[in-house]
């Protein structure tokens, strides 16, 4: 089950949807990040749930300040949902093609290191917001 990367992506997608749904119904400050639980420091993805909740309520700027990663998390979720629906009802292989394209992008060092630089900025923003 864990050998096929598409299964892992699908499980993360389902877990994300369940998590967003639970947070919409029962807003809470439960911390699930292992990095934060151990080090008491926010990781790169911390604040994503809050950012998504703010985005759903229409507060775009506050959502971006919470976590910049939603810039590509939201399009990824939308794209993946559409691919999944296409594959289910039309018998296509869009999810596999999408995964392969993303794989090719991240195999190139330029894009990978650009992503890391972006994540460092997001992380620095976490600490800046926490301090101010």
């Amino acid at each position: 089950m864990f050998k096929d990367p598409l299964h892992i992506v699908f499980m993360c997608y389902c877990a994300s949807l369940v998590w967003i749904f639970v947070n919409l119904l029962i807003p809470s400050n439960v911390v699930i990040c292992p990095f934060r639980l151990v080090t008491h420091l926010p990781c790169v993805a911390c604040g994503t749930t809050t950012a998504l909740m703010l985005l759903i309520k229409g507060h775009i700027l506050e959502a971006l300040l919470c976590n910049l990663n939603i810039i590509f998390i939201v399009p990824c979720i939308v794209l993946y949902t559409l691919s999944l629906l296409c594959d289910t009802f039309c018998g296509t292989a869009h999810t596999q093609n999408l995964y392969n394209k993303v794989n090719v992008v991240f195999k190139r060092k330029l894009y990978l290191y650009s992503f890391f630089a972006f994540e460092l900025v997001v992380w620095a923003l976490h600490f800046y917001v926490k301090l101010t």
Partner: protein, 110 residues
């Protein structure tokens, strides 16, 4: 099994799944001499180091980046280690995943 194959199995055996030992042995026996020198350049990843990375900073996806699974590393990073669950699962899977990746690298050489 000749001495060269023996030495290669001793040097590189731990990098590959034990279930594929026969396949690895056959590759080492049939590989041309000029390709044997390229073995060192393939940069096989150490499964033990992958496990240590997974335990320490696995929540940030660094273990997946280490073995070359960049997309999965990115996904793990932006989901807080797959909501913590993937982090724990990878503690048990990462060594085998590393060995499988190393085997794929070796098969490209054969």
């Amino acid at each position: 099994m000749d001495l060269n194959t023996n030495m290669l199995m001793i040097a590189y055996g731990k990098y590959f799944p034990s279930a594929s030992a026969l396949t690895v042995k056959q590759i080492f026996e049939t590989i041309p001499e000029e390709k044997k020198a390229m073995l060192g350049m393939l940069e096989f990843k150490d499964p033990t180091i992958a496990l240590i990375i997974s335990i320490l900073v696995g929540a940030l996806g660094i273990d997946r980046f280490y073995i070359g699974d960049n997309t999965q590393g990115v996904l793990k990073l932006i989901t807080c280690g797959g909501f913590g669950l993937w982090t724990i699962v990878d503690w048990f899977l990462i060594m085998n995943s590393t060995k499988e990746k190393n085997l794929q690298k070796l098969l490209t050489l054969a």
